[in-house]
């Protein structure tokens, strides 16, 4: 049985995290092969997860741990009377703000990564496009243009075009 587009879209995040039952995972996988919109959504999710995974783990302030441990250190009578102090709410507020900031930074981080990648591919991408279009001009030598586009293909996927040649 196959799942519909709406259901598959809802299950993408769980599929990415490996939280689906094997049967459900197979269904989502089958849908991804057929649906380009879901494939794009899946790729976006995967990129976001990768980027979030690369962010440094934010260390909470020392007071945060004190706030957690303090009630346990108190005797039972005191613990019963204990109420969360104002600064404990502040700590939670800071943590929430950090989380929102991290999520907001995702597009910025992604943009920077894309720019760094584009810096590597700029000349090769344009030379490849030019060589491919040039091959449509009359009387050009396609064997030589094939050599140029072949070198560009390799550089665009991050491989040196020839032995011992670094990417420019």
């Amino acid at each position: 049985m196959t799942i519909n587009h709406h259901r598959a879209e809802q299950m993408l995040s769980a599929y990415l995290d490996g939280e689906l039952l094997p049967r459900e995972a197979v269904e989502v996988q089958a849908h991804l092969l057929e649906c380009s919109a879901c494939r794009k959504a899946y790729e976006r999710l995967r990129e976001t997860k990768d980027l979030l995974g690369q962010l440094p783990v934010a260390e909470p302030p020392a007071e945060f741990w004190t706030a957690i441990r303090t009630p346990r250190a108190l005797p039972m009578r005191e613990r019963l009377r204990w109420r969360p102090p104002v600064w404990r709410w502040t700590t939670w507020g800071i943590a929430a703000a950090l989380l929102v900031l991290a999520v907001a930074l995702v597009p910025v981080v992604k943009g920077t990564v894309d720019r760094l990648h584009a810096a590597e591919i700029g000349v090769d991408l344009y030379v490849r496009d030019h060589a491919l279009q040039m091959s449509h001009e009359p009387l050009v030598d396609r064997a030589y243009l094939g050599l140029i586009t072949g070198d560009s293909d390799l550089k665009l996927v991050g491989e040196p075009a020839r032995y011992g040649e670094g990417t420019p």
Binding site: R128, H130, E137, L147, I148, T149, D153
Partner: protein, 440 residues
């Protein structure tokens, strides 16, 4: 002496065979002294008539030195190609298989396969109007290449540019040898067949790519098929599309497309003179990093770099938040002319200037600019439109070389020779360079 009837019959049959062979030979080998235009036509028609297989030696300028590459080349009519690179060692084994629809590139040392567009393109519908306008075609007689008779023809650009010489096989029309010469650097590309066999009727299977086991496959993006005007492209991107106000004489807008790679979207404008191509790429400056390759361009106020790859030259510069990249097999000065004219800007002032000089509505000038025409082309199209009573879009097509004089004469119901004279008279009066650009 009486000749027996059998001997007489044999003699007549023998004579007929000899005459037939002579006729056949005359049909397959055109006479010496064929006009250059006819030789060029033979060379252009050959790929769809002939199959061949041969070994080609290519010597090209690469990063300041000459590199020699040997490749086995198979061609099946009309548009299939297989290339197996043999040397130098660092490309040995590279394979390109083009079935006329798409091309596969296989790299054995990495077990990687790349799928991309065909190299043959619109091989069968090439228009030579621009080539005839911008190149002098000369015949240099007959020469011998690997023991075969070949016509030698030269394509000399009217304006400074790359001169091309071809040795065209007399019997088949296949280019056996070619040479490209840059005015500054001498020979930049030379190719010749060291061995070639014709009319093999090569099997289709040679031109079908078989994926090697375990190969990593990449579907390479390329500029979108079809052609869009700069105005149409601007509707699809979030940045202004700059159109060169003036180009080196002979070059005209040949098509536009979007080029995408990951999140990088660039506008790709192509300019052709009929045989050579200048590509102009535009993208937001922030979306692409500054390359480390190349040299700074002396005398430029804005950031700019020139990357000399040998056969191709690349000029990269920034202006008004855009990264512009021009690529071509042209003298450096030609790329710099394109860049300087773009960097000068003043689009609005030039629109006003040209519309005043040709007494036309600025909106019409802007519309033709949006179609990719340079200001001199806009001026010519409008002057012709006024003199001939034709629609400006039609005269713009004629100015760009996508409409021949015979086709235009047909549309206007005029005799071609009368129209030719009228065009010459009108263009003599047209402002060739807007004064606002002169002297920059």
């Amino acid at each position: 002496m009486r000749i027996p009837p059998l001997a007489r019959t044999l003699a007549v049959v023998g004579l007929l065979i000899l005459v037939g062979a002579e006729v056949n030979l005359a049909a397959s080998v055109p006479p010496v002294g064929l006009p250059a235009v006819r030789v060029l036509q033979m060379a252009l028609e050959a790929p769809r008539l002939i199959d061949y297989e041969g070994t080609k030696v290519i010597t090209a300028l690469k990063a300041g030195r000459a590199e020699t590459v040997t490749v086995s080349e198979w061609h099946k009519r009309p548009d299939m190609m297989r290339l197996e690179y043999l040397s130098p060692e660092d490309v040995a084994g590279r394979l390109i298989v083009d079935n006329g629809t798409n091309a596969w590139h296989y790299e054995p040392r990495l077990n990687m396969a790349f799928e991309g567009p065909t190299f043959e393109g619109d091989l069968l519908s090439r228009d030579l109007t621009l080539l005839h306008r911008n190149y002098r075609l000369t015949s240099l007689g007959v020469d011998e290449v690997i023991g075969r008779q070949a016509y030698v023809v030269v394509l000399d650009p009217v304006m400074p540019g790359v001169r091309r010489q071809f040795w065209v096989d007399r019997a088949t029309g296949t280019i056996l040898r070619s040479e490209e010469r840059d005015p500054d650097r001498g020979v930049i590309l030379s190719t010749y067949f060291s061995r070639v066999s014709f009319s093999l009727n090569l099997p289709d299977a040679y031109f079908r790519f078989r994926m090697p086991g375990g190969a990593r496959v990449y579907r390479m993006p390329s500029a979108e098929a079809g052609s869009m005007s700069p105005a149409a492209l601007e509707q699809q991107v979030r940045f202004p599309v700059l159109i060169p106000p003036v180009l080196p004489e002979g070059y005209t807008f040949h098509g536009g497309a979007l080029s995408r790679f990951g999140s990088l979207t660039s506008v790709y404008l192509r300019y052709s003179d009929g045989e050579n191509l200048i590509s102009l790429f535009e993208a937001p400056a922030g979306s692409i990093g500054w390359p480390s390759a190349g040299q700074p361009v002396p005398g430029w106020t804005q950031p700019a770099r020139l990357v000399d790859l040998g056969y191709f030259r690349v000029l990269i510069w920034e202006q008004r938040g855009l990264r512009l990249t021009a690529v071509g097999t042209v003298p450096t000065e030609t790329l710099l002319v394109v860049a300087r004219q773009l960097a000068a800007g003043h689009e609005q002032a030039l629109v006003t200037d040209v519309s005043r000089r040709v007494e036309s509505d600025p909106t019409v000038v802007r519309t033709l600019r949006g179609e990719g025409l340079t200001f001199p082309e806009v001026a010519r199209a409008l002057v012709l439109s006024q003199r001939l009573g034709a629609d400006p879009r039609t005269t713009a097509r004629f100015v760009r070389g996508t409409l021949t004089i015979s086709e235009l004469a047909g549309q206007l119901r005029m005799r071609p020779e009368v129209l030719k004279q009228a065009v010459q008279d009108a263009l003599r009066e047209a402002p060739t360079v807007p004064p606002a650009l002169a002297g920059r």
